[in-house]
Subunit: 462 residues, 2 copies
């Protein structure tokens, strides 16, 4: 249903802060996961707020007029979180990308939601600091988007997720009320933790207009490398053993043989098409001892090759198959399309099982399922490649996708480790959390956004 | 106002699970911070649930009958969180103290809310694991109480607070609905973070009946010791420099000269009555290098003595003044009584300032204010010792107490770092968070507990 958004003309915004043009509207109707699914609708208008006051004015007016607002930024989401499920306004926050205050002595920085993750890292680099929880898309995704989905990435096994590095937020509720959450003190037990209820709420409760992030000191020693295994079970069980042994590793990524084959083809590498584990160690002390420990553990699982380096170029070269994987998968076979990239996370003791199950389903359904992921977190990423012209193949791919999610939940895992529910995972919410918890979430939604202005059609099934 | 709690007789509870006796009721009307304040009222009845079903039945019936329920456990709180502000039922959770499931391979344990913190540590010790965020009262406080206040402690500077180590909860809402929050996966971005909204909500939103805790591997090397400084400014600035330098320290506690004098008198020590910093280092690698770095930093601040040890008994001896401090303060002068133990937390760069200000106010008001605390977190603990028979002295003490809290908030800090708001800090809530955020908290309270059954009179002013 189209909404009359003419009221945007009456707000105190510059002409280039609103658009009703088809091009603008269409460019705000897709994300990285939306291509095949045909998710969402084209908004009626796009606004580009440049201040908290702009956000507040637009939200208050939209709520008054009963017009839905879908927050948008880089558009790199996978589950359709920022793609409108209902028409109305797309609120593009990419112009609010300033560093607002930097307090290096406190390891803190205040930023606008539209700032790119890597720009935060660059801003603080001269002081030997960094923002540890950036996802792999950190050089194109915004901090606001990461907060919306409680994103995480390769470094999460050592450093945690976005939520662990956000001290406080400024945010605007649907009625235009500006709230501040959290504290610049690194701990507080004052009142309800509004910061954490907003993180991961996918823009359904409030629009974040400022985030206070914690930073960390860059480790003095970094080593990176790669291990190659004969079987995928060897690789996943080696990772489990490493985590169980409390190995201090900063990144530990599994890539299955199929993904290795795709990466080798894409990069022209002569590596074997065998399961690989990509590693990075960060430490101020004892990095060599941890690498030795890792090698010993991996040898117990018949590792074929174990190569590590302290040289930046060499590390990059060892990691190349992992870095290029997303492109390699997409370009592997022009006749196949990724149905939907997915991610699930399970307790680490069940990681070998979920990966094994994904590959078993690949055989059973005769659908290619390249598997990789942040193994140290128990996080499995997978693509399902189908022939779009073969409805039966597509159907088998969709069934397989669903079976992996359900299997992950059945063994104590979550339907989405780091991409949010958005539109793509709504059907799993109640199975994962139970009706009582989902009802509690709905009550919170109604309490903070009684008119349902903010990002309707996300997280909850109607 | 007394409430008719006779309906408890109709519930499926054993006789020893409810009491209307004065002794039971009175023992549930105080906590460690309540002595002088005369906070709270005596409940009409006490119930001891032994299962989630018991909690659910009592809450559902209490809500039906319009009777308030105040959750209670060890009674070690400082802000009156577990002391009834309204009569009704005190729900004592200490019998729900079981280990429900232990998954050492996943570094996870499920426990009842009534389990004592140290008992968790003991349970997992044989596997080389521990629960890192225990507060100093961990050997007498319950996990449920720690979750209620988002407690933290000496180890927070390295390991974080309770919230960082809780993966999920089972909890009962006021209407008796049982919900499960979080996931056994160590990360999830599925739905709203109900776990974190319950942690620190002081039993006003739900009663926690099970907690899934994360564990950590015990560090291979532990060193402990003590540094003595000439001035308190030297000590606090040394701590700030250490934190700013990213020193990997597991505990770093400041004790002012007055507290040192009290501790020395209490323990019969011949140490100087000088400001001290107590340290503990945990690491698998490089602990000696970190200690050397710390010593160098402290020498820049004219440290007088710097003593470290790897021997358990010797460490204990070096730390004795800190360990005995609570008793030393209470026993220092029989003519003085602690008005109220307080804690505030500020950004680490403002730690020297808040401590300096506390001592300045001590002089200005001529009231003894022993200062100590988890300095690495920017956390200041202080007692205000007053002559209870001198109303003017009491009044000056109360003014001083308030001035420290307000000063902490003015420089970016929080009114309560680790003890919660309870009844004691309610007046600061709105000043700290602003009216918009407090209104959002109230909306969440009404959404989850529309009848106001759970722990009324806490966190919010009427």
């Amino acid at each position: 249903m189209a909404h009359d958004c003419a009221f945007l003309e009456d707000l105190d915004l510059a002409d280039d802060q609103r658009s009703f043009a088809a091009g603008s509207r269409e460019s705000h109707a897709a994300d990285w996961g939306a291509e095949r699914k045909g998710r969402g609708v084209v908004p009626d208008a796009v606004v580009w707020p440049e201040s908290t006051a702009d956000v507040s004015a637009v939200l208050a007016a939209a709520t008054d007029h009963g017009v839905p607002v879908t927050p948008f930024a880089a558009g790199t989401g996978l589950e359709g979180t920022a793609v409108p499920a209902e028409k109305g306004i797309s609120m593009d926050l990419t112009r609010m990308d300033d560093v607002l205050e930097y307090r290096p002595d406190d390891f803190q920085i205040d930023v606008g939601p539209g700032i790119i993750g890597a720009d935060v890292d660059e801003y603080v680099a001269d002081d030997g600091l960094f923002f540890p929880p950036l996802p792999s898309s950190g050089d194109i995704s915004t901090i606001g988007g990461m907060i919306a989905t409680d994103a995480s990435g390769m470094g999460t096994v050592r450093y945690g997720e976005i939520a662990d590095w956000v001290l406080g937020l400024e945010a605007v509720l649907a009625d235009g009320t500006v709230i501040e959450t959290g504290s610049r003190a690194i701990k507080t037990s004052s009142g309800y933790n509004l910061t954490e209820i907003l993180i991961g709420s996918e823009g359904t409760l409030a629009v974040v207009t400022r985030a206070t992030l914690e930073l960390a000191g860059r480790p003095e020693q970094i080593r990176g490398g790669r291990a190659i295994f004969e079987t995928l079970d060897d690789a996943t069980e080696a990772v489990f053993d490493a985590v169980r042994t409390d190995l201090d590793v900063a990144k530990i990524e599994v890539v299955d043989g199929l993904s290795a084959r795709m990466a080798n083809a894409y990069t022209g590498s002569d590596l074997p098409d065998a399961p690989m584990v990509f590693l990075e160690f960060h430490a101020n002390h004892g990095v060599d001892e941890e690498i030795d420990l890792c090698r010993t553990i991996f040898e117990d699982h018949d590792v074929l090759r174990f190569e590590m380096s302290a040289d930046d170029d060499e590390m990059e070269s060892l990691w190349r198959a992992r870095r290029e994987l997303a492109y390699a998968v997409t370009n592997y076979d022009p006749g196949l399309e990724p149905l939907q990239p997915g991610d699930v996370t399970v307790p680490i003791s069940n990681y070998p099982e979920i990966v094994h199950e994904a590959k078993r389903l690949e055989d059973e359904h005769d659908v290619l399922v390249p598997c990789f992921g942040h193994a140290g977190d128990g996080n499995l990423h997978y693509s399902v490649l189908v022939d779009p012209d073969d409805p039966d193949h597509v159907e088998r791919g969709e069934a397989l996708y669903k079976e992996i999610v359900e299997r992950a939940m059945a063994i104590g895992g979550t339907s989405t480790g780091e991409h949010g529910i958005g539109q793509g995972k709504r059907e799993y919410l109640e199975a994962e959390h139970g009706p009582g918890a989902v009802d509690a979430m709905r009550r919170i939604k109604r309490a903070l956004d009684p008119t349902g202005t903010l990002n309707p059609g996300k997280i909850f099934l109607e």
